[in-house]
Amino acid sequence: MSASDHAALSSQLSTPHVGGANVREVHDSFHGDLLEVSMGPHHPSTHGVFRMIVTLDGETIVKLKPVFGYLHRNHEKLGETVTYLGSMPYTDRLDYLSSMTNNWAYALAVEKLAGQAVPERAEYVRVILAELTRLLNHTCLAGFLMQDCGCSGTPLMYAFREREYILDLFESLSGSRMMCNYQRFGGCRVDPSADWLTGAQKLADRYGTFLDEFETLLTGNEIIIARTQGVGKLSPELAISAGVTGPMLRATGVNYDLRKVDAYGVYPRFDFRVPLGDHGDVYDRYMIRVLEMRESIKILQQALAGLPAGPIMDPKAKLRSFRPKAGEAYGRIEGPKGEIGFYLLSDGSPNPYRYRIRPPSFINLTVLEDMCLGHTVADAVIILGSVDIVLGEVDR
């Protein structure tokens, strides 16, 4: 632009000021339009292949629609094409952090369907493994949540170090770190050895020290308090109506733990408390999990001390050519993420007629939009982290 052009343009744009100075008119290109942002599916903060379509007013979320299905393989259809036992390894892949509780929930539903008894030793071993899974899951979740808050690396690596000790126990018992395939209808696959039990005892004795260290690092941290308190609040009424279960429900102050309510397995024999939150925000969800881990250690100590001798499998249990009577059953347990249930419909054939999974983290995501509205994008990442999702289970 030449000097003369510039002068002509500025004479058009400018309005002469009273004082003589030229003030340029402001042409505002920001009209307050809403912006639609697609978060995910390949973003590390979405914990897998999860996508949220977020509508933003500035940085504030005014609408959020989750998009599912990137890991969908129609697990329920697969369950109809294989035998009852054939589905057991597939359940490992649902919530791949806690395969032991998935196995248990499925075994419990089939045992209800077929009227199968479980020996006492197997019930104790199931409790031990479920509580180890809870420790593993909650430790990882706390690590990931802190990673989402921006504590890059350190808490996550601390959590993963402890997870590795638990996975070592799982591997020496079942042969696989994560895809354990350990429970059977009417018991467990192998009997834990004395060495294994000593290892589990050592871990239970030591885990409290790790939690103290972890909490010193995180719980009172000013940045974490500033980022998580009052963020993503959930009311108890909405949580109940939306079918939210597990630590997310208890963080809103609703006293509902299936280990107490349904009293399945041998849980009534153990002395433990159910931690409850006050505010239902992200901080409460984090604290509930830390407190639950401390209760899990208590249960572990009691279960290891009281483990009876005896068979690990019911001798009458049928594994091959297993055909339950026609009928239906719904069985559920308290998984680390909430109520994991299996609904089975049998028509008397070796395969289930209908095999349905009630995935806790999928249903907990129903309220994601309600929790995120009015918060910023950075908060949405933390709120999603506090829901504790695993996409293997959400998409099935």
Binding site: G69, A114, A329, Y343
Partner: protein, 235 residues
Amino acid sequence: MESPEQIRDRLLARFPGAEISVVTNPGIAAQHSLLLGAAHARAIAEFLRDDPTLKLDQCSNVTGIDWPEKEIVETKNISTPDPANPAAPPKVVEQKTKRLQLGFLEVVYHLYSITHRHGPVIFRLRTGNRTDQATVPSLTPVWRSCEFQEREAFDLFGITFDGHPDLRRILMWDEFKDHPMRRDYAEPDDYEWEPTPHGTVLEKTKAHYPPPPALVAAPTVLPAAPAAPVKGATP
């Protein structure tokens, strides 16, 4: 907690004219359920949620089930007396009757009470058929937890939920046509079909790479061998 029969009787007293029946579960679990007609389903669901003795405030699980139409063969023994010899024992003939049971889709709801810590109360809704009357009332306005689960039943079974606020596919992609959880769903042959370059893309590819050099034919005529020396000739 009340038995399904007691709940049915109370519901019939509260909603006269509603279709309510108890579906017996023949299995060992004996979790019996209630079959509700579509007309009163929403009102009954609200009653179950708000009733002070039941207070079923949590709908835990929503399951779609497909029941395709099937032929039921019933065998009946019919005895006919011999007209020639009435004293003789009657002739027994096995008669088979075929009956076509119409197909339908079913939605099963598992309800629990968090307030009273009891459950499950199970009820079912059925569609008229599997094609043009595959509609049941949505219970998302009663329990929010039905929102995603009913969308899932819509996606995988093709059950339309009347009154659902946001009924879209959830696990399959929007352009997908069929309902994969139906019993008669056939996987397409070209499931792993991958597009190969075609049309303008193929033309562009051809223009991009120079044509391969023509092959030069190898010589087929071998050079003649040196002639053998003739006998008796002088060198």
